[in-house]
Amino acid sequence: MSTFYYAVDNAGDCLYENFPSNLKAIIHAYNDNFEPFEVTWNGQRQFCRLGKKTTSEGSVFTLTFEDKFLRRFKLFRELVQASTLPLASIVKLKTDTLLAQVSITEELIHNLTSLNSYNIQDLFALIPQKILAQNFNKQEEAVRKIIEEQPNVTSATLLKLIKSNLAMKVEFSVFERTQRPNAFVQKMPHSIRDLVLSILQIFIEDFEKKGIQVYVNYDDVSQKRIDLDYDSIFVSLFYLLENAVKYCCRGTDFRIIFEEQGDTFYILFKMISIRIEPNEVNKLTSQGYRSVAAKKVNEEGKGLGMYRITKTLSLNNAEIEIFPRINSYKEIRDGITYEGNMFKIKFKDQKTWFRK
């Protein structure tokens, strides 16, 4: 190849280029006369032509060593004219990508800012800034006094801090795993029950507040060690349990059961939660989709939880199956229908994962 292009946008930023590295500087000496001139290329002194065409999207420099373009000015001028044809599409692609990236980053910043504000508010609700300011020489003593006087509020605040800090970790993990190409996955054996408990403990207080009794099976299957990428499964289970807290019926039971069938391992989440319409089963994991009942419970929400569960589970070669109405239980509270539902995480074809 002996014809090269160097495209820049209106701000002068490079859009694409394949100029020889030693000849990039010649665009700064461009004089618009299209006349052949001599440069060193591939270790030899050779003649070339340099042209430029500018449109509303930017400019493209064309450099050629091809004999036909050196000999015929008309052909070279046509080559330069044609060089800007893909420019509009490339500028649009760049703008769209940039906007999408900005939107993703803004969402990350928004979520992190919200969680950070919860942390700040929770902490200063327990330990007022004024008290710290008034006791700046004996802050530890002042804080100790508050803890002694309000042990229950202190424990509740600490638990909230644990949850929001881990939620921040989830935000980072989601960003890493769903927005970056070539998500970084490393598997390591984990006791499946210990792993589930390490995430479930974050939500226990929330379940208690709703009077939901949580049961986690303890048997031989629950003792299995499974190779998993912890950060990915952490995000999957975090969203699943967060949804369970939001959408389970008050005063009911929430059961986590481990099963093994052939070369597949399952974690079953059985609960009494908002009704899932038959036509919603396949839509629940779509990005942005929110069920009819979910909208009734909570108007906010972007329909991202189930989508992210699916996406992060796939990094562990796992998938989620939804089984509505696993029993005949039905209850209507405040106009919302609750039924027995099951969410089943299926770790596929992983016989070699299992340990005794």
Binding site: K169, E176, Q186, S198, K356
Partner: protein
């Protein structure tokens, strides 16, 4: 022989009968010296029997210690664990706890990190990993501390300066892995995309984010220590 006869159950029964008969005879004879003699002999035999029995029970309950101060029961349990395990698959839930208890006293963990606020070291120590240490940087790969370490946790930022390493922790992790191939090297960082083409990312044993949960560090140490236990057999 005489001791066995005196401490036998038959002697105990005879002396019991002697005591009862002696009391009855003494009352009947208005405390003549012959029944009193029978009474004293029977009483002496009963005391010998009771004293011997109490001694034997005490000996049974007392833990006998071996020369190195470790209870034989523990040695037996340890030996049983050691002989049963030859592959990772053999580390059952029951064995796992025993092996981990043992390895917590033997496995050496070293964090190389200039961040003094990083608390995982304390958390590991608090969970029983006795030989967990942290240093801000290392001057040489040949120091004793490095030689006896089983797993290194290397922060990729702010270390390797004493060795003038261009890519800081990444260079240091790579050097440690190349020098001590049988030791585990884990790199952790707040930025996983830092010099993503550096060889250390592929050569090291594991990569962790700096905001990994203590559980993740603990699980990693447990896995590697069990691996070392199996390899050492």
């Amino acid at each position: 022989m005489i001791k066995d006869a005196l401490t036998s159950t038959a002697a105990f029964l005879i002396s019991l009968v002697g005591l009862i008969v002696g009391i009855a005879w003494a009352i009947d004879s208005r405390w003549e010296w012959e029944p009193i003699l029978v009474l004293l002999i029977s009483l002496a035999e009963l005391l010998i029997f009771a004293f011997h029995k109490a001694n034997r029970e005490e000996e049974t309950n007392k833990p006998t210690e071996s020369q190195n101060g470790v209870a034989p029961d523990k040695i037996k349990a340890e030996a049983s664990v050691q002989s049963d395990i030859s592959t990772a698959e053999d580390v059952t839930v029951k064995h796992r706890d025993s092996v981990l208890d043992m390895m917590k006293l033997r496995y050496h963990i070293l964090f190389i990190d200039d961040d003094r606020k990083f608390n995982v070291v304390k958390i590991l120590r608090d969970t029983g990993w006795k030989h967990t240490k942290t240093i801000p940087d290392i001057k040489s790969l040949d120091i004793e501390l490095v030689k006896r370490t089983d797993v290194f946790f290397v922060d990729i930022n702010g270390v390797g300066k004493l060795l003038s390493l261009e890519y800081e922790g990444l260079d240091l992790a790579l050097m440690l892995k190349q020098r001590y191939a049988d030791k585990k090297v884990v790199i952790y960082s707040a930025n996983k995309n830092f010099n993503s083409f550096h060889e250390a990312w592929d050569e090291c044993d594991y990569k962790l984010e700096k905001n990994a949960l203590p559980y993740q560090f603990q699980n990693l140490v447990e896995e590697y220590s069990i691996q070392k236990f199996i390899d050492s057999k």
